[in-house]
Amino acid sequence: MQSNPEEQLSSQPENTPGSEQQESKSPFQLAMRRFMKNKMAVISVFVIFFIIIICVMAPVFTDQDPEATNVLLIEQGPSDEHILGTNGQGQDNFSRLLYGGRISLIVGFSAMFFTLVIGVFLGSLAGYYGGKVDGIIMRAADIMLMLPFLVLALTIIAIIEEITIPIFVMIIALTSWPNLTRIIRGTYLSLREQEFVHGARAIGASDIRIIIKHFIPNAIGPIIVNATLMMATYIIIESGLSFIGFGIPQPTPTWGNMISEAMNVRILREHPEAWIPPGLAIFVTVLAINFIGDGMRDAFDPKSKQR
């Protein structure tokens, strides 16, 4: 995540080296073909699908309501009815694990999506037009990067007081667009003076057309790679904020607020089955997404493989 994709992914429009008799493949198809050769990445894709399917089909695996509390069944150990026992409010841990996965994945994905929208929009403006627009957007990005993410997010959360899932997603997206914006801008700057862009401009293509048809497709490598790695980061951020009680509030289950049960020393000590599974779920999900992201990086920029 901390690596510097700006350097590694200066995407050059590669001329498709189509071998003689085959139809030529687009750079995207070539990248996908390289990706399929990366064993860890492909396995990770299956792992992620597996996790998504289990979470989506949660009602098939458990008939417990993840939000129903039961004062008579507090901090129970595993039993036939409650496979992972119950938490401090008598909620069923197993169903919270499955339904919580839905929330954690949805939050991670939608935060990634909105960051992508903001980042691509601002990055395109800055990188395409340059000059004053670029200056303003990049200074704004610098300023956003001055405050540590958690401090900024927590301060905003404290001001807003009531957090819902959409608000939470917007807070993440609005505080973390600068990195992506910088990367996209950097890629665009190298594209700006390419002949095919001059060509497009010469035949009268509009700015929007040039950005959508020529810039974004050529920057798609860095965009996809960073979007993937961002989603992993956001899942960790969501779980971290929920863990300290500033994320998605109870009774909605998420992997993060399930682990926050372990702040109670008794549960930490006596009921590892309550807090270890959600932790492992986060760990496996993030690990798999990171493998996919790394696989993408190698696929879109074969040069980086030797590093």
């Binding site: 901390q2 404290a158 001001i159 863990f243 300290i244 682990i259 270890i276 993030v286 690990l287």
Partner: protein, 322 residues
């Protein structure tokens, strides 16, 4: 180079100004002010009295005047009084906790550097060996595990079950002195330090490995080898000097990463530092403390980046600016 350094310092000033404006803006956006807490606590008092208090504190002044009051006293280290801790001064509260976070941060940075960099170098010298694969695997694990979960597992296994390390706090008890106190402090810092430094260690390791591999593949290293230089000399005289350059920049940013990480890590270990103070203040909507911490952390990050940029321009004369 000197031109660049001066320009870089000049950029620092408007950035600092922007930071103060943001922090002040956030505080303005927050509901309530220093008086509204008392107002809620004692509704029987004539509202006129509170209005007078507001007037006296300057809360009815125009916004730019309030900003000026706040920034000029903040510059002298006066951040007002906490709304929660019986009106104790914010500066005092922060001073109490700051050293703890500083020790923890330095300790974990030490672990990161002493573990991450040597492993990265060794991996790069023996690429695709068993050790390298192990280190790469560890790197992936270290970046994927949320640090609070790692901290909880460490407490569960090493404190609760094995009893090797204390699970929380900074000292076992008062009244220790000298060497005993120091070793007790370090004993308490080991788990939170490792937890806080884990992701950084993994990052440094990966960076170091790829940098050293990069440099080892360059022409001047081949030349050095060709003229018969020993491997050790090639490593220390040519490779590391160049491979460490990007690490310096990384360390400038590390300040922000460590301080952010400290918020969650300190919570897991109930470690009385800036992070726990910040979380408590956010929970209690104690905005003078929140603002002060945000301002201090932001300033530290700005200074860290400034130093990193300056060091970078000194160490690497190949870089030409403008």
């Amino acid at each position: 180079m000197y031109k660049y350094i001066i320009r870089r310092i000049l950029v620092f000033i408007p950035m600092l100004f922007a930071l103060t404006v943001i922090v002040f803006g956030l505080a303005m956006a927050a509901p309530g002010d220093a008086i509204s807490g008392n107002e809620l606590a004692d509704p029987n008092v004539d509202p006129e009295v509170y209005e007078q208090q507001r007037e006296a504190l300057g809360l009815n002044d125009p916004v730019p005047v309030q900003y000026w009051d706040w920034i000029s006293s903040a510059a002298q280290g006066d951040f007002g009084n906490s709304l929660v801790y019986n009106g104790r001064s914010v500066a005092e509260l922060i001073e109490e906790r700051f050293a703890n976070t500083l020790y923890l941060g330095l300790f974990s940075l030490g672990i990161t550097i002493l573990v991450g960099i040597p492993i990265g170098i060794y991996s790069a010298r023996h690429p695709y060996s068993l050790f390298d694969y192990g280190a790469t695997g560890f790197g992936f694990l270290g970046l994927a595990i949320p640090n609070f979960f790692f901290g909880l597992i460490a407490i569960y296994l090493l404190s609760i079950h094995l009893g090797w390390f204390p699970a929380q706090g900074t000292l076992s008890g008062p009244g220790q002195s000298g060497f005993n106190e120091l070793s007790d402090r370090i004993h308490h810092m080991i788990l939170p330090g490792i937890t806080l430094g884990l992701a950084g260690t993994a990052t440094y390791m990966r960076y170091m490995r790829s940098e050293v591999l990069d440099v080892l593949g360059s022409d001047y290293i081949r030349t050095a080898r060709a003229k018969g230089m020993s491997d050790t000399n090639v490593l220390y005289k040519h490779t590391l000097r160049n491979a460490l350059i990007p690490i310096i920049t990384l360390m400038g940013f590390e300040i922000g990463v460590l301080l952010s990480g400290a918020v969650i890590t300190e919570q897991v270990f109930q470690y009385p530092g800036i992070g726990t103070l910040f979380l408590n203040s956010v929970t209690n909507r104690d905005f003078p403390v929140v603002m002060a911490i945000a301002l201090i952390l932001g300033t530290l990050i700005l200074i860290g980046n400034l130093i990193a940029d300056i060091l970078y321009s000194i160490i690497d004369p190949r870089i030409r600016y403008d």
